[in-house]
Amino acid sequence: MYTVGSSTSEDIDSIGGRELARLCYSCGICVGGCPAARFSDDFNPRRIVLEICLGIGRRLVGGGSPIWKCTTCYTCHERCPAGVKPLDVVMALRNISFREGACPESVSVIRKNVLDDGVAGTVTRRAAEIRQKMGLPPAESDGRGELEALTGHE
């Protein structure tokens, strides 16, 4: 059972591969290949996994957390010799942050777009005209309206 701070979080456990995090022996290969670690001062996947294992990861939840610097490149996922999935741990922390209402605005905006329209972006009039001129089908998705029912009620 992993915790993110003072309270035990089932979220961390409920996401696939989390039980493997305890296999981390802090070799640091994830940091060596990590572009976000290389191009920022405070993103460190080895430290994130360690803090989750030790139950001292509360600082990692929230909109100002370094977790949002991750580029989701999956290099750590590919290279980890112990089968830990550091990116899954980062995603779990992001999910918890979203649930607590503490995440970058873009996450809420894109999620709302997808659930409302079925498409992550907004179809501008200009884009619609160009698509028509190029002979491309309309950008709108007929799936809008079906997605809300799929979400929630974990």
Binding site: I15, G16, P35, A36, F39, S40, F43, W68, K69, C70, T71, T72, C73, Y74, T75, H77, E78, M91, A92, R94, N95, F98, R99, C103, P104, S106, V107, S108, I110, R111, V114, G118, V119, A120, G121, T122, V123, T124, A127, I130, R131, M134, G135, L136, P137, P138, A139, E140, S141, D142, G143, R144, E146, L147, A149, L150, T151, G152, E154
Partner: protein, 291 residues
């Protein structure tokens, strides 16, 4: 890569091309169709959902929505123009096949929509182009070789990763783009940090811009005249992002960005004027053999 050899696919356009990059979508459709690959549209497809931002809100919701896209129409393979879509749908497919609890959860939700779980193969279009025999076919259709053009190939991250789900090319040192540009006559120049991420998916502006600037400098130093890639997010980063970076810092990279499919269309004889290259922020007019 003989598994991506079927000649009929359902076309999964993805959100960024749909809403902002119609010229990219046009070129991908055209080059596939020119090679005899038939594409069927399905307006019911939604966002895959994206493996970066949407997945950050809820992995469970990501999986259920991906399961819906996968389950709309049986086993006919899906081809995408976006590595993010292909990676996301492939990873979701792997989770659905391996994790019984997740599969039952998704199946229950889909049942309410009258759908049964389906797990069709999902390919990025580079994989379709790389399938056995297609490279020869492309070579035979090239009427306007891009001889002498020096390009920097940028692969990005999701084209080959996670490799356990995607299963295409080498996960960290892929070669498919290099091979394809060589068929067109162009030269893929080696450059420092060729396999580094473009930075776009980081939600931290400084991290993202630092990676972009580093890559552009490395490409320029290696003598590249243009960037070739096959991801709409990388395209936006290198095209729009490069323009903004130049405006902000005064740097002058001026490296035009091409989707591989655009070069393919040009080399196979498409009218350059009909490809929407005027939509690119970094102007393509001066590129040898193209302008």
């Amino acid at each position: 890569m003989s598994d991506a050899s079927p000649s009929a696919y359902r076309f999964f356009p993805g959100c960024l091309a749909r809403t902002k990059l119609p010229h990219i979508e046009l070129s991908v459709r055209r080059c596939l169709e020119d090679l005899g690959v038939s594409l069927r549209d399905d307006a019911r497809f939604t966002c895959c959902p994206d493996p970066v931002v949407f997945k950050s809100s809820s992995r469970n919701d990501w999986l259920r929505i991906a399961a819906r896209n996968l389950s709309l129409d049986g086993e006919t393979p899906i081809v995408t123009l976006c590595p993010g879509c292909a990676s996301s749908l492939s990873e979701a497919g792997l989770v659905l096949s391996e994790d019984r609890g997740a599969r039952e959860d998704a199946a229950g939700r889909l049942d309410e929509l009258g759908l049964q779980i389906g797990l069709p193969p999902v390919f990025h279009f580079l994989r379709v182009l790389s399938a056995d025999g297609r490279m020869d076919e492309i070579e035979s259709k090239v009427t306007r070789r891009l001889d002498g053009l020096k390009v920097a190939c940028h692969y990005g991250c999701h084209l080959t990763r996670p490799s356990g789900a995607v299963g295409f090319d080498d996960p960290e040192k892929p070669e498919c783009l290099d091979k394809l540009v060589a068929v067109l006559g162009a030269e893929a120049v080696p450059y420092e940090d060729k396999y580094l991420c473009c930075g776009r998916p980081s939600l931290d502006e400084a991290t993202s811009a630092g990676m972009l600037e580093h890559k552009l400098a490395a490409m320029k130093a290696a003598g590249a005249e243009a960037i070739v890639l096959a991801c709409p997010f990388c395209f936006e980063q290198f095209d729009v992002g490069q323009m903004l970076l130049q405006r902000k810092t005064g740097a002058e990279f001026n490296l035009p960005v091409f989707y591989l499919s655009q070069l393919l269309c040009i080399a196979m004889g498409s009218d350059v004027g009909g490809l929407g290259l005027d939509m690119h922020k970094i102007k393509t007019g001066g590129v040898p053999g193209i302008g």
